[in-house]
């Protein structure tokens, strides 16, 4: 048992990998077995992730970074996995979404094509690997794992829309992967290492020439990450691809942009923190302004959208933009707010994607367009308001559930009370306004307020769009078809929404945790020490 405890950190990668490989040996007709096994693995992953979270958040804030040396080779030569608070949070989030999406898929989606379970498990391999790895090239590999699985999953179920969207998604991400490779190799070419922590120790000592090329590499790498994170103007593929994906896939995709955000957060603080010498704060302005542009574009898209699924896609952009901007702000308070926001928005968007499928199941396709045209021409038939007519029709329980969930999602996405969306946004805004972050005068001042205005406007746009679509869907007599909803689907959506409720209730401790996380991210010495106990042993190859 102690052995297992030591190796627990690798299980989030190895377990789904083994399970996925094993499923390949089973015939596709034994889908129930596959489904059961996959769900079991998802549950196990959740348990493991939570355990790891507890381990990472031990009593001392900084000492609990755990590193795992693959193949028993010392860092920075071998590949290391690093578990800290941030990666633990991401693991937990991933397994939550995975569980919800998988349970949801039991209703019908897992039958929509071959090898769904394997692809899904491999996606988890990629996600967990990307969150855990401490090596830049290994990160590339896990990115490719998760992207490849996502290509498969985005196309799961086929159809014209999926294939068209999938084609764009694939091409854009292939191009981005190329940039990733160029960036990583350029960095290796001038620093001689791939280990992130080792890189952090080497950067301050680089000469001007090497620094120049290292930064160029980081810039190219940054573009690749920003494509995945969905920063404007690199994000036009995103709403289309996410909207086209089947519901459970889109739900788990809501963490995919967060991988980009995660790695930007990780690397910008590890490599370009205040200790990075001349490279300190490299690119933070790009993140700030790019994030703001992304919020602006996302909110415009939310308003302009005609379908719920596209709306959800644009919400992803808004949340990405918000996170990028918060990282660009660059203080620990903003980071902790951003982390809280990250958890909240990921859960909310995932729930919304699942819900979208349930709601749109019962609608006629033109209804969304109608929502706007009705608004445009308004109603003058107030004479109709007579007592006789004003008797509520019987709303079946399903519709009540869908309506309630819709309202919850709307509140979460718009950042309105009483759910955690409001708290997340508030935490973020109060951190951004904190004088310690931005100072009070000069252009920074304007930026602060523009950012806050954007955050508020994005909430507003979500509110307007959700009201528009919600009224059309749930209140309009045109929409009488009540969709058939399976129990597992209800369970999945409720699970995610209840977690948001729990997040609201336990906002205090969660935010405290995030604050500790942010502090440790802003002071990466502990991370580096954990990976390189001998303090950058790479100087001399002989340990």
């Amino acid at each position: 048992m102690t052995v297992l405890a030591d190796h627990l950190i690798i299980l989030p990668i190895v377990l789904p990998l083994l399970a996925g490989a094993f499923l390949l040996l089973l015939d596709d007709r034994r889908r129930p077995v596959k489904a059961a096994l996959t769900i079991l693995v998802a549950i196990a992953l959740l348990v493991i992730a939570v355990t790891l979270l507890f381990r990472a958040s031990g009593s001392t804030a900084l000492a609990e970074t755990v590193s795992y040396r693959l193949g028993d080779w010392p860092a920075p030569f071998g590949i290391v996995l690093v578990l800290d608070r941030l990666s633990a949070v991401m693991l937990v989030l991933t397994s939550i979404l995975a569980l919800a999406a998988l349970v949801f898929s039991l209703a019908r989606w897992h039958r929509a094509g071959p090898h769904f379970h394997t692809l899904f498990l491999f996606l988890l391999v990629g996600l967990n690997g990307a969150f855990l790895t401490g090596d830049l090239f290994n990160l590339f590999v896990f990115f490719e794992v998760l992207l490849a699985a996502s290509y498969g999953l985005v196309l799961h179920g086929m159809g014209v829309v999926r294939v068209k969207a999938g084609l764009h998604y694939i091409v854009v991400n292939l191009a981005a992967s190329t940039l990733f490779l160029i960036g990583v190799s350029l960095i290796y070419g001038v620093t001689g290492t791939l280990n992130m922590a080792d890189l952090a120790t080497r950067i301050p000592g680089l000469n001007d020439t090497d620094r120049m090329f290292m930064e160029a590499g980081a810039a190219i790498l940054g573009v690749a990450f920003l494509v995945k994170a969905g920063m404007w103007p690199l994000s036009f593929w995103l709403p289309t691809a996410y909207a086209a994906a089947s519901a459970p896939v889109a739900a788990i995709f809501s963490i995919m942009t967060k991988v980009g955000v995660y790695i930007i957060l990780r690397l910008s603080l590890l490599l370009f923190g205040p200790g990075a010498g001349e490279s300190a704060h490299f690119g933070s302005e790009v993140l700030l302004y790019g994030g703001m542009a992304t919020i602006a574009f996302g909110l415009v898209g939310v308003l302009a959208t005609q379908t719920m699924s596209r709306l959800a896609g644009y919400s992803v952009l808004v949340s990405s933009g918000t996170l990028l901007a918060a990282i660009g702000v660059g203080n620990a308070a903003a980071t902790s707010g951003a982390l809280f926001y990250l958890v909240n928005s990921t859960l909310a968007v995932a729930a919304f994607f699942l819900l979208t499928e349930l709601v749109e199941r019962g609608r006629d396709p033109g209804a969304d367009v109608l929502a706007v045209t009705m608004e445009a021409f308004g109603y003058t038939d107030e004479d109709d308001i007579t007592e006789e007519v004003e008797v509520g029709e019987r709303i079946p329980t399903i519709l009540a559930f869908l309506g309630g969930s819709f309202v919850a999602c709307a509140l979460l996405l718009a950042g309105l009370p009483p759910l955690s969306g409001f708290l997340a946004k508030f935490a973020l805004m109060s951190a951004i306004m904190d004088p310690a972050g931005f100072g009070t005068g000069g252009p920074q001042f304007v930026v602060t307020w523009v950012l806050i205005a954007l955050l508020i406007l994005s909430g507003l746009s979500a509110m307007l769009a959700m009201t528009r679509i919600g009224i059309q869907t749930f209140w309009s007599p045109l929409e009488i078809a009540v969709p058939g909803v399976r129990g597992v689907e209800v369970v999945a959506v409720s699970f995610l929404l209840l977690l948001c409720v729990a997040l609201t209730m336990a906002a205090g401790p969660v935010l405290d945790f995030m604050e500790d996380t942010a502090m440790s991210l802003h002071a990466p010495a502990a991370y580096i020490d954990s990976v390189l106990p001998n303090g950058g042993a790479s100087r001399g190859a002989t340990p």
Partner: protein, 114 residues
């Protein structure tokens, strides 16, 4: 030697990018392949160029970075080759599916541009 490889990388990238920006899926796939050659050469070049020094150890021979080529970029390129092969296959099939379903080989699934 470096200048030859640099020019090769440049031309492969340029040709690949030109194709990547074209509207036909087949052009795009050829473009991606060319870009992947360029990328592989680029990664490879980051370990510096060296002739007649493959990182294969010989008994009693040296095992020093000063006399042998850098093995790490080679390993990275190997991974990159595999992945780009896989992606080429995937993209090919997706473009076939797209062509089958939309009736066109335009990247947008409809004829919007020449």
């Amino acid at each position: 030697m470096e200048i030859i490889i640099a020019v090769a990388i440049g031309v492969l990238t340029g040709s690949g990018l030109w194709l990547l920006l074209r509207p036909r899926t087949f052009q795009v796939i050829i473009g991606l392949a060319l870009i992947s050659y360029a990328t592989n050469l680029f990664i490879f070049g980051m370990g510096r160029l060296r002739s007649n020094a493959p990182p294969i150890l010989e008994p009693g021979g040296s095992s020093d970075l000063a006399t042998l080529a850098d093995p790490l970029p080679q390993a990275l390129v190997l991974t990159a080759i595999v992945i780009s092969f896989a992606m080429t296959a995937l993209f090919l099939v997706v473009l076939l599916a797209s062509r089958g379903l939309t009736g066109t080989d335009h990247v947008d699934g409809r004829e919007t541009d020449l």
